[in-house]
């Protein structure tokens, strides 16, 4: 979908002749509100679910297969990235039944390295672009950033929205930026398929749940394949209530248009217990169509090892320790 | 400033008891430090002063708090205010009640220290400790009732919902009573924090040791760091700094009575610079006296450190 096509679809959905900032504002501000206390209570209620035995084993393996294994540090080097990719392919060298992760998430200038390291696997390379994490750069810079990653072979693009534009109500600008980057994904996509686009909101900066809901609908309207909570560089990063709002958005979007969109919470998800809570939420809010790496991902680094420790405990019956999982 | 008393023989708070073999056992004596931000620092000035019992015998060296210690305590109290005032009243009541539980567990230690400090017989000291614990329990039970008794809906003449609710004022400085080293202290401290304020307390100058033991109770209870800060030292030296501190919202002058080198009117004058809420000491005219702490209090000490917020909202279809 080109950005003009995105605009055309948006006009049709909104029922307006021209996609203006005013019409977008009216549409977004007309969405139902979110009661903050009620949303927190629903998330907390879902978090009391107890997942045991075979169900827990399935959930651990599913969570592993949903991980976008991440390194986004200024100090990243080629060897650091290769080491991460090796871990992605063999999370637990002592247990070859361990599933592989979904993707490796790195800065765009490391895409070439990652693509090469993962070439014999099905693991995707997801590159963060568009002046990640702050989003504070010109559109030209953001597009160049994105195209470079695509040409290097990235399968997925994780872009950030301009939160300044969003918070000052320039929704059309946010729309156009997403649509332009989506267009780049389609034009410069790999031989296999157009790259899929994740749009990061940085929910910690948007603060209110109403903003998260509006950002979700806006991003999907503009062409996002996945909506993503955070960069992981700002606290709070992913939370259960924010993810709840986003799952409600993709559920309602599919009811409205028939199109399924994915959700990725990222940052701050460290333990198996946390991951279980997210999977329960996906299950009971969006439905089990989303319980698949094609539609739900975890942006995480330390989570993988905790999942492996829990996996080992289920297999052996006793608690494991840090010496029995590898560092990346 | 009173003249330095002659160094006498130390009072043994626990007499050296014979050990199993009948030989004398040397006790492990306590160190008395400040309680600021949930930790036990010595004074940043490095100074201490001698604390003596009612017979002028040496008890311990207490930290001599300085203006910088007071400054640090205000920072800690301000830092703790958001979370303490934001906790539910039920939670505050639970936390304060637990303090009473821990005080009860330490009653023997408190009784010994109060007896030495105030020259009371053991049975009398024991009674005072019981009163102090009961006083704390009384205040703990107020946490989730203050709003109901002091707040309410106002029947304004228009289609508006209008409600007045009490809120804690912020960081409260308090001069603890000079004579009543535990019961008086509790009677001044508990009403400050029960409603969500945080406190910086200057303990009794000459009878500070029960306060330090209380700070140990606080540190092992669930009271969050910084909610209560206790500074031992010369009241006359440190009080003016608290009275003039622009980030202190209110001040309780109870301990101005019988304090060395202090004129409470000057503290009130200094407080006017940022319009602190001032709770004057008891007594007529310029004489400050220490009240009888054994009488059951009323709501005065709670109300003194509350603001009232009134909110309007239209009622319409």
């Amino acid at each position: 979908m080109s950005s003009t096509t995105a605009a055309a679809s948006a006009r049709e959905l909104l029922g307006v002749g021209a996609l203006t900032n005013a019409s977008l504002t009216r549409w977004l501000h007309g969405l139902p509100g979110v009661d903050h206390v009620g949303a927190d209570a629903r998330a907390a209620g879902l978090a009391t679910r107890s997942v045991k035995t075979t169900s827990k084993a399935w959930a651990i393996d599913t969570a592993i297969s949903m991980i976008d294994l991440t390194t986004l540090e200024g100090a990243d080097t080629e060897r650091k990235v290769r080491s991460l990719c090796a871990k992605a392919m063999a999370p637990d060298p002592g247990d070859p039944t361990t599933p592989q992760v979904a993707a490796v998430c790195i800065y765009a200038d490391m895409a070439t390295v990652a693509v090469d390291a993962l070439k014999d696997s099905n693991i995707h390379v997801a590159a963060v672009t568009s002046a990640f994490p702050s989003g504070r750069a010109t559109m030209a810079v953001k597009l160049t950033d994105t195209r470079d990653a695509l040409r290097a072979g990235a399968h997925e693009i994780d872009m950030v929205i301009d939160r300044g534009a969003f918070l000052s109500g320039r929704y059309l600008q946010v729309f156009n930026e997403i649509a332009a980057i989506k267009e780049a994904c389609e034009q410069e996509g790999t031989r296999r398929a157009p790259a899929h686009l994740k749009v990061i909101f940085e929910t910690g900066e948007l603060v209110t749940y109403d903003n998260v809901r509006r950002a979700s609908w806006l991003a999907i309207l503009a062409g996002a394949n996945f909506i993503k909570t955070s960069t992981g560089k700002v606290s709070p990063a992913a939370t259960l209530p924010v993810t709840l709002i986003m799952l409600e958005a993709v559920r309602d979007w599919r009811d409205l248009t028939g199109t399924q969109i994915g959700v990725k919470p990222a940052g701050g998800i460290r333990t198996t217990k946390d991951a279980m809570k997210y999977l329960v939420m996906v299950n009971e809010v969006a439905g089990d169509d989303w319980l698949d790496p094609a539609w739900f991902r975890f942006g995480a680094s330390g989570l993988l090892n905790d999942l492996l420790l829990q996996r080992q405990k289920l297999a052996t019956g006793h608690y494991s320790g840090a010496d029995y999982v590898t560092i990346d | 400033m009173s003249p330095a008393p002659a160094r006498g023989k130390a009072t043994q708070t626990n007499a050296a008891a014979p050990n199993a073999a009948g030989a004398q056992r040397i006790e492990v004596r306590k160190t008395y430090k400040l309680y600021i931000g949930g930790a036990f620092p010595r004074s940043e000035s490095g100074r201490t002063y001698e604390v003596r019992d009612s017979h002028d015998r040496f008890l311990a060296n207490a930290a001599m708090g300085s203006r910088k210690d007071a400054r640090d305590a205000v920072v800690a109290a301000r830092g703790a205010f958001g979370k303490w005032s934001g906790a539910t009243a039920y939670n505050r009541g639970q936390v304060l009640y637990r303090v009473a539980e821990l005080m009860e567990g330490r009653r023997a230690q408190f009784a010994t220290e109060v007896a030495a400090a105030e020259g009371l017989t053991p049975p009398r000291a024991d009674k005072v400790v019981s009163q102090a614990i009961d006083r704390w329990v009384w205040y703990a039970g107020w946490a989730d009732k203050i709003a109901q008794v002091l707040g309410g809906v106002n029947p304004v003449a228009g289609p508006y919902f209008n409600i007045s609710a009490p809120e804690p004022t912020g960081v409260v400085a308090a001069l603890a009573p000079q004579r009543s080293s535990l019961l008086g202290l509790v009677s001044v401290l508990a009403p400050i924090v029960v409603s969500g304020n945080t406190a910086v307390v200057l303990t009794s100058e000459h009878r500070p040791l029960p306060a330090v033991t209380l700070s140990e109770v606080l540190a092992t209870s669930d009271v969050p760091a910084g909610v209560i800060n206790l500074i031992t030292g010369r009241t006359g030296e440190v009080a003016p700094w608290l009275a003039a501190h622009q980030d202190v919202n209110a001040i309780d002058l109870a301990g101005a009575a019988d304090a060395d080198g202090l004129v409470w009117a000057e503290l009130e004058r200094a407080s006017a610079d940022n319009l602190k809420r001032v709770l004057r000491p008891a007594g007529d005219d310029i004489d400050a006296v220490e009240p009888d702490w054994s009488r059951t209090p009323d709501l005065t000490r709670i109300k003194a450190f509350l603001e009232t917020k009134t909110v309007w909202h239209p009622k319409g279809r």
Binding site: P32, G33, V34, D35, N283, L291 | D144
Partner: protein, 486 residues
């Protein structure tokens, strides 16, 4: 089969020690009945017999009232408020310490999900004792003297009869304020849920509560009827059906006995077109399916604005597909067992009537266990105000859905009932909440939430939902006198 089933997650029963039989708790001790028979209490989820319990007869009631009077005239009456408060603090603490035990026992005897006993019933019960412990020595500050200038004093011996839907919580709502004010009590738990009350008697012993201050008489409705008529009882507190509440009001007419009654309801849960829709759906579900709908203040009538009715109903039904009905001891169960065969029969009867009257019936698909008493969550749409299922209290997991066009019409329909216990309002507009709250004839109004309880928050009804309040400053009134008129 769904991808993600969770697997059974049973809470262990081992924390509870059940005795084969229980006596009555009178004068600080467990005693056998003098002239009563025994009956069995069962687990409604499995019909397993849990224990044998005693039915207190008239002589037993007499003994209990006398023990309560002796304690009132003696040790309890002589205690200061501060000392009374300390006993209540002890009881609160012990309830917290034994919380897991109480939660499991409550679930076994009542059938409610362990998630609810553990997270709602037991913590609230302990909190009730905590709150009231603090009032015991502060009654003169509670604004109770009504201008008489006299300090508040206790009434004497209080007879209390509680229902089966929140056994320990209802016990705490009754006993805590009564004791805080200085009264002594004789409490009769419901026939089908006596066990947590009997365990509470143990807590009284552990707290060293003076003998006779609290007396627990298990029994049937006969026991309750005799207790409230006993001449030695100064005040009655009753929670239960409106029908029995009226009986009590008749029975005490012309006497000097005071009563507070907390009775039935048929609350309207009102959803406007500008509601926060996802939270409103949660509120609807919580309003009627929490505790299997065995809640006097349940939001049993959904009043939804007509222009969003189809959408709300669709979302509601979709939400109900994830409700888990089953073993109450499973930590993932959302809806437990119906408390008794009698109650199940009543629910079935009324839902059959609903269908016969012309409403459209929808039932959440779920697999119900073979043994035990179960009813699947059910929603009736196209309900009219004149249908019996819009008027009569079902007291089960059954929702009746009606529509309205304007706020005035919502108010009219919500108030058009002899009941008046509670109501819910869902809208993002603050002024509408406050205007509606003013208009609704209900003792508890929840806006953008539902079924929230707190010891500081007064609870009670208008009209035939009863009179008097429990909780808060207002709840103390029913337990004191200021001497002007008894």
């Amino acid at each position: 089969m769904a991808k993600f089933e969770y697997a059974p997650a049973p809470e262990s029963r081992a924390v509870v020690t059940l005795r084969p039989s229980y006596g009555l708790f009178i004068g600080g001790e467990f005693v056998e009945a003098t002239d009563g028979s025994t009956f069995k209490t069962i687990n409604p989820a499995s019909e397993e017999v849990l224990a044998e319990v005693t039915e207190a007869g008239e002589a037993d009631i007499d003994n209990a009232v006398r023990a309560a009077r002796k304690a009132f005239d003696g040790p309890w009456g002589r205690l200061s408020g501060a000392e009374r408060g300390k006993y209540l603090f002890r009881i609160a603490r012990i309830l917290q310490e034994r919380a897991r035990e109480f939660a499991v026992l409550e679930t076994l005897d009542n059938g409610k999900p362990i998630k609810e006993s553990r997270d709602v019933d037991i913590p609230l019960a302990a909190a009730h004792f905590f709150y009231h412990a603090g009032w015991a020595d502060k009654l003169e500050h509670a604004g109770l003297s009504g201008g008489s200038g006299q300090p508040p004093r206790p009434l004497g011996v209080v007879g209390q009869v509680i229902p089966w839907n929140f056994p320990l919580l209802m016990l705490s709502w009754k006993i805590a304020p009564a004791l805080a004010a200085g009264n002594t009590v004789v409490l009769k738990p419901s026939k089908s849920t006596p066990l947590t009350a009997l365990l509470f008697a143990e807590v009284c012993q552990q707290a060293d509560l003076p003998a006779g201050v609290v007396n627990i008489l298990t029994g049937t409705s006969r026991t309750g009827a005799h207790l409230i008529r006993h001449p030695g009882v100064d005040k009655i507190a009753f929670t239960g059906s409106t029908e029995v509440g009226k009986d009590i009001a008749r029975a005490i007419a012309g006497t000097r006995k005071r009563a507070t009654l907390e009775l039935g309801g048929k609350a309207a849960n009102i959803v406007f077109d500008d509601a926060a829709i996802d939270e409103a759906v949660e509120g609807i579900v919580n309003g009627i399916f929490f505790n299997q709908g065995h809640v006097c203040c349940a939001g049993s009538r959904l009043l939804v604005q007509e222009n969003v009715a189809d959408d709300v109903i669709m979302r509601l039904k979709r939400r109900l597909l994830t409700l888990r009905v089953g073993d109450p001891l499973d930590k993932n169960t959302d809806v437990g067992a119906i408390n008794s065969a009698a109650q199940l029969s009543r629910i079935r009867e009324l839902t059959d009537i609903g269908e016969a009257e012309g409403a459209t019936r929808w039932t959440a698909p779920c697999v119900l266990p073979e043994r035990g008493f179960w009813f699947a969550p059910t929603v009736f749409t196209e309900v009219s105000q004149s249908h019996r299922i819009a008027q009569e209290e079902v007291f089960g997991p059954v929702l009746s859905v009606l529509t309205f066009r304007t706020p005035q019409e919502a108010v009219a329909k919500a108030n058009n009932t002899p009941y008046g216990l509670s109501a819910g309002i869902w809208t993002e507009k603050g002024s509408r909440i406050l205007w509606m709250a003013d208009q609704l004839r209900a003792g508890v109004v929840w806006a953008n939430t539902f079924n929230r309880f707190d010891p500081t928050s007064p609870f009670g009804g208008y009209k035939e939902s009863g009179y008097g309040r429990e909780g808060g400053r207002h709840g103390l009134e029913g337990y004191v006198t200021t001497g002007a008129t008894r």
